[in-house]
């Protein structure tokens, strides 16, 4: 083995390759410490000839002045890069402490997850198109499972294993009566705003009398369902996701499955049915509140008498308006329940996932509601309703 190149006192750390009878040797020189600037040390991978095949790679610490944990990390990283797979390492004149530290870290870090077929999986931080496709498939599968659970329940509605009745009653209470205050406030403000803004436009044409038509048709056909859906998404969609994700994190969902029970039947169906049952009632109530809230604006600002306002509101509404509004709102409610339950049941098993599931449930519900509103509006109009 040739002698190492002598370093002047105080020279920085470095690593150099030497070749001798024992094969390749990586010679470490200087102080391998943070203060000495060890982070700048680099060395190219050795270009081994056939003679070096199978020979151990020697690391020589004879010229090492000092080392610290920082330097050990640099050396470990460097060895990860230059040591050919399957080729053993041999230490020479290495400080015992450094050798022990490197031995502790001898297992190579798992830098990527690898699938069973050896294909690298995408990391969690960078969801790829494939992940989005997988998410969509999981959502479809979830819808299918819900439909199957619904089918099982319809075949045996009295079976508590298919859906406990007391849980349905509890969810009805949460979805309906407890939502009334916030629905009242929001829809009253929307009705008032609609009357005020609609009146301003109609007033220019002297058609203030039609304010009631604008408010009644707008609230019943579109806005009551939409606003109620948004409120329910924030109030119940988020709650469903948080409840189910917490149960998932605490292995409660697994415990149900281990008992031979179907979480779809016990957890999802009561929430879904509660919202679907309550949604038409809430939407009808919200529409009534919105129409009534438009009355003060129409009467005080635009001089429409209360009697005329109410009469026109009733006259302007048709069965089609009511049915379309209720159906659309009920669809939104179903989507909210599905989004919340889907995110909750598919959450990971940790506390952070609960917050993530809640956020995703609300965002997903709102996107689904807007998409459904757009789609149903086009569909209904094109069908002539």
């Amino acid at each position: 083995m040739p002698a190492s190149t002598p370093l002047p006192p105080g020279a920085g750390p470095r690593a150099i390759w030497q070749t001798g009878a024992e094969g390749r040797c990586l010679l470490l020189q200087g102080a391998w410490t943070r203060e000495a600037g060890v982070s700048g040390v680099s060395v190219a991978a050795p270009e081994d000839g056939p003679a070096s095949d199978g020979m151990p790679l020697t690391v020589d610490g004879g010229a090492l002045d000092a080392w610290d944990a920082f330097g050990a990390a640099v050396l470990w990283t460097l060895l990860q890069r230059v040591q050919p797979p399957g080729r053993p390492l041999r230490w020479r004149s290495m400080p015992a402490g450094l050798q022990a530290v490197l031995a502790l870290a001898q297992r190579p870090p798992a830098t990527e997850r690898v699938s069973a077929t050896g294909e690298a999986l995408p990391s969690d931080a960078a969801p790829s198109r494939r992940l989005a496709g997988r998410e969509a498939l999981r959502t479809l599968a979830f819808f299918g499972e819900v439909l199957m659970a619904l089918g099982h329940w319809l075949r045996r509605p009295g079976d508590p294993r298919r859906m406990p009745r007391d849980e349905l009653v509890r969810q009805l209470d949460l979805a309906g009566p407890l939502s009334i205050p916030i629905v009242s406030l929001t829809c009253a403000l929307v009705g008032l705003m609609l009357a005020y803004m609609g009146g301003a436009q109609l007033d220019r044409m002297g058609a203030q009398g039609y304010i009631a038509d604008v408010v009644a048709v707008g609230m019943v056909r579109e806005l009551a369902g939409l606003m109620t859906g948004i409120i329910l998404a924030g109030r119940l969609g988020a709650a469903y996701a948080a409840q189910l994700a917490s149960m998932q994190a605490g292995e409660e969902v697994d415990a149900l499955r281990a008992l031979g029970l179907d979480p779809m039947a016990l957890l999802v169906l009561p929430r879904l049915l509660a919202l679907v049952i309550m949604a038409p009632l809430l939407i009808a109530y919200a529409a009534a509140v919105g129409i009534l809230a438009g009355l003060p604006a129409a009467s005080a600002v635009y001089g429409v008498s209360p009697g005329e306002y109410l009469a026109r509101a009733v006259d302007s509404l048709t069965v089609t308006h009511v049915v379309v509004g209720l159906l659309k709102g009920t669809l939104y409610a179903a989507l909210i329940a599905l989004a919340g339950c889907r995110e909750g049941l598919h959450a990971q098993r940790n506390a952070e996932a609960v917050g993530r599931a809640t956020t995703r449930a609300v965002v997903k519900a709102l996107v689904w509601i807007v998409a459904a509103a757009c789609g149903t509006t086009v569909l209904v109009q094109s069908l002539g309703f």
Binding site: A103, S115, P160, A258, L259
Partner: protein, 277 residues
């Protein structure tokens, strides 16, 4: 994949086709998120034994346990519960089989919206025709078995971690299952309660004939309660030893001896990379 043969301490072969054994695992491969966790698993659990699944953290003990109770399906192979394949059974058959297994999860997994007593009575209410009074009596008895006589009306959130685990064990016993699968039953328990829990498991085995499979890190529990040990190796991604603890302690592979002797020095170095000569 492993080049080590599985070392079986008992002389008799594993009898995969024997339908009398409660649980048979036949050339099973397990995956998690598309990644292979364990493969080449082939063993049977004998009726009335305590089998401990041991191995380093992350070797797949809990994953295996989840597969054994039907919460996940194996990527390959068959898991036969009382002779029936969980993954090919229809929904009702699968649910019926699952009710033959009591499961205790690592975190306890008590239903937080219910009291401890209601947690125990839920499976009784859904799957038995016991009267309400009978359910209360049976639930109280099971709580007494695990030393939680006074926890019947308490919420799970009011219990300590160890108490939650014992309550979870009581729930796992609710339907008197012939097979119990326990995930880290001793973790979070003080040594005295851990020893009591092991004594309870032996009592269940000896007097009720319960078969018990437990994933555990506790070597003390293994030596106290396990009839056999199945060692799962995270490097080989398979089982590398199956046998009585005392036998494996003396004649098992080095990693198993090291585990059972609680001595890292006796174990093999993990990989050759960077190893000093």
């Amino acid at each position: 994949m492993s080049s080590h043969p599985v070392r079986e301490a008992a002389p008799d072969p594993e009898g995969i086709q024997d339908l009398a054994v409660p649980l048979q695992i036949d050339d099973v491969e397990l995956q998690q998120d598309g990644r292979r966790v364990l493969a080449g698993l082939r063993f049977a659990v004998r009726r009335g034994e305590v089998l401990a699944l041991v191995g380093p953290s992350g070797c797949g003990k809990s994953t295996l346990l989840r597969h054994l109770v039907g919460l996940q399906a194996p990527a390959r192979g068959r898991i036969l519960l009382e002779g029936q394949d969980l993954n090919t059974a229809d929904d009702d058959g699968r649910a019926r089989l699952q009710r033959r297994v009591g499961v205790m999860f690592q975190s306890g997994a008590l239903f937080s919206a219910m009291s401890v007593g209601e947690n125990l009575m839920l499976p009784m209410r859904l799957f038995t025709d016991w009267s309400a009074d009978e359910r209360v009596r049976q639930a109280r008895f099971r709580l007494a078995l695990v030393g939680l006589d006074d926890a019947f009306d308490r919420a799970p959130s009011e219990l300590s971690g160890g108490m939650r685990k014992r309550a979870a064990l009581a729930r796992a016993l609710a339907l008197d299952p012939p097979l119990l699968c326990l995930d880290e039953p001793a973790s979070g328990l003080d040594p005295l309660n851990a020893a009591r829990l092991d004594a309870l498991l032996l009592h269940l085995r000896d007097h009720l004939g319960t078969t018990i499979v437990m994933a555990t890190h506790s070597v003390d529990s293994v030596h106290r309660a396990a009839d056999r040990v199945l060692y799962l190796d995270d490097q080989e991604q398979t089982m590398t030893a199956l046998g009585a603890p005392d036998h494996l302690l003396r004649h098992g592979p080095p990693a198993v001896q090291a585990f059972l002797a609680r001595s890292p020095a006796a174990g093999p170095a993990h990989g050759a990379r960077g190893a000093a000569p």
